[in-house]
């Protein structure tokens, strides 16, 4: 049984916002709603890290727990979706979510929010897979087309991984084994390493004949 997850490798994220743009384009998300966002910490200082955040499709989703009309449900793959026809736009899910995933398109009188919109893991929502109405309300249903979410597929550095939890955890483990981990992964020491066997070549030219006597 697949359990769909996202992993964002903060060592690789370059804050290009490719995932954000891909998601907005693919799902035609309105202005003001950002299903996916890139958060940058320590901007400009050593140790700057970026990470791409959207709905984490929690196992015990707080949004699902607090919804007064119970419009949330989890699919067999672990994707947390909701029914916009049932949603009353109260905003409780938005308060409950630690990642700020549920968003509202409107900011009108008396707190009118409109229907909640959030990352769907590109799995659409209720309504037949790939239908016009599903697209209008929820965006693309890529899982039903045998594809993975567009944000991960578009990630320029493959920092953002999506798919079955075990598979992508394996990929990340492979990656960390090969490159090493830790905070100063891409620092000066890695590029111009002292302790490394492969050190930078000498600046002086090395003559092809050594110690030629004139």
């Amino acid at each position: 049984m697949a359990r769909m997850k996202f992993i964002c490798d903060a060592e690789r994220c370059i804050n290009c916002n490719g995932c954000v743009t891909a998601c907005k384009n693919e799902n035609e998300v309105p202005w003001g709603v950002n299903r996916r966002r890139v958060v940058t910490m320590n901007e400009g200082v050593p140790g700057e890290k970026s990470i791409s955040v959207a709905c984490m499709h929690c196992s015990d989703a707080p949004c699902m727990a607090v919804c007064p009309v119970s419009c949330f449900y989890r699919t067999a793959e672990g994707v947390v979706l909701h029914d916009k026809d049932v949603c009353i736009g109260c905003g409780y899910c938005s308060y409950a979510c630690p990642f700020g995933a549920p968003q509202f398109p409107a900011n009108g009188e008396f707190g009118l929010r409109g229907k909640m919109d959030k990352c769907t893991f590109c799995a659409g929502g209720p309504a037949p897979n790939g239908s016009e109405e599903q697209f209008k309300e929820y965006g693309r249903d890529r899982l039903a087309e045998g594809k993975l979410p567009i944000c991960a597929e578009m990630c320029s550095t493959k920092a953002l991984l999506a798919g079955d939890g075990e598979v992508i955890a394996d990929i990340l483990r492979d990656r960390v084994l090969h490159r090493g981990g830790g905070a100063e992964l891409w620092g000066w020491g890695t590029a111009y390493g002292k302790a490394d066997a492969q050190s930078a070549p000498a600046a002086q030219p090395a003559p092809t004949t050594q110690g030629a006597s004139s």
Partner: protein
């Protein structure tokens, strides 16, 4: 140094010895080290940055540092002056020394270095990418990245509008982004924006429906005179400026 160790130093002529003293393969302006190593001893170093050639239309045989025309360091201007004026360069008179001498004390009025650069979200002049809703939402206004210390000295806070003034007399209004990404002597403004002219919004002058979603100040309204003789590029990348809170 290496030449002395190898015992080839005395094969240089006296003039070459004077120029090459303390220098290496890359920085010897006389070319003597290259001549001795390659011609006399048939040693041909290979690898990155080893090749040497005489480029007849470059002003210096080996690149020399020359201070920019508008510089915040008057002492460096004296030590590393720029080229003499060219009477005709591609059939136009191109000024170097005159402008630099006129502006040697420009740091008193404009103490900050302004550099301009690209944004990930936008491309080129910006009109096409600023009309794209997905990209426009990511960068909604032209900004100036300011170091916290610099901002503090000028009473500028995050999100404040700032007047950036430069030696051309231009004053552009951009929004401040306080960040440690620039140091205390530099500010950064992105290009790609257009549609505001020195604080005035020009949206009503665009044809109906043709204005991009996001408008902003163009940084080149403020950049200054200069033409690089080697790369044949205009000096619009960088200049000096002063900030004040709007």
């Amino acid at each position: 140094m290496l030449l002395k160790k190898l015992g080839w130093w005395n094969e240089l002529t006296d003039a070459e010895k004077k120029a090459a003293d303390g220098k290496n393969w890359k920085t010897d302006p006389s070319g003597g080290i290259i001549r001795v190593v390659m011609k006399n001893h048939s040693c041909h170093p290979f690898g990155n940055a080893r090749a040497r050639a005489v480029v007849w239309n470059f002003p210096d045989p080996i690149p020399q540092h020359r201070e920019p025309l508008y510089s915040v360091r008057p002492d460096m201007v004296v030590k590393y002056p720029t080229y003499d004026d060219k009477k005709t360069f591609w059939r136009l008179p191109t000024l170097y020394k005159t402008v630099q001498d006129q502006n040697i004390d420009i740091v008193k009025k404009f103490p900050l270095i302004l550099t301009s650069g690209r944004l990930v979200e936008y491309e080129g002049g910006g009109d096409e990418t600023r009309s794209n809703p997905w990209l426009a939402e990511l960068q909604q206004f032209a900004f100036v990245q300011v170091n916290p210390a610099v901002a503090n000295d000028r009473n500028i806070r995050e999100g404040d509008d700032v007047w950036v003034s430069t030696p051309t007399g231009a004053r552009i209004k951009v929004r401040a982004r306080i960040t440690e990404a620039v140091d205390r002597s530099t500010v950064f403004i992105p290009f790609h924006f257009a549609g505001h002219w020195q604080g005035k919004d020009l949206r009503q002058y665009y044809p109906e429906g043709a204005a991009p979603i996001v408008l902003g100040e163009a940084v080149n309204t403020a950049t200054t005179y200069g033409y690089d003789a080697v790369t044949m590029m205009q000096e619009t990348k960088t200049t000096v400026c002063q900030l004040e809170r709007a």
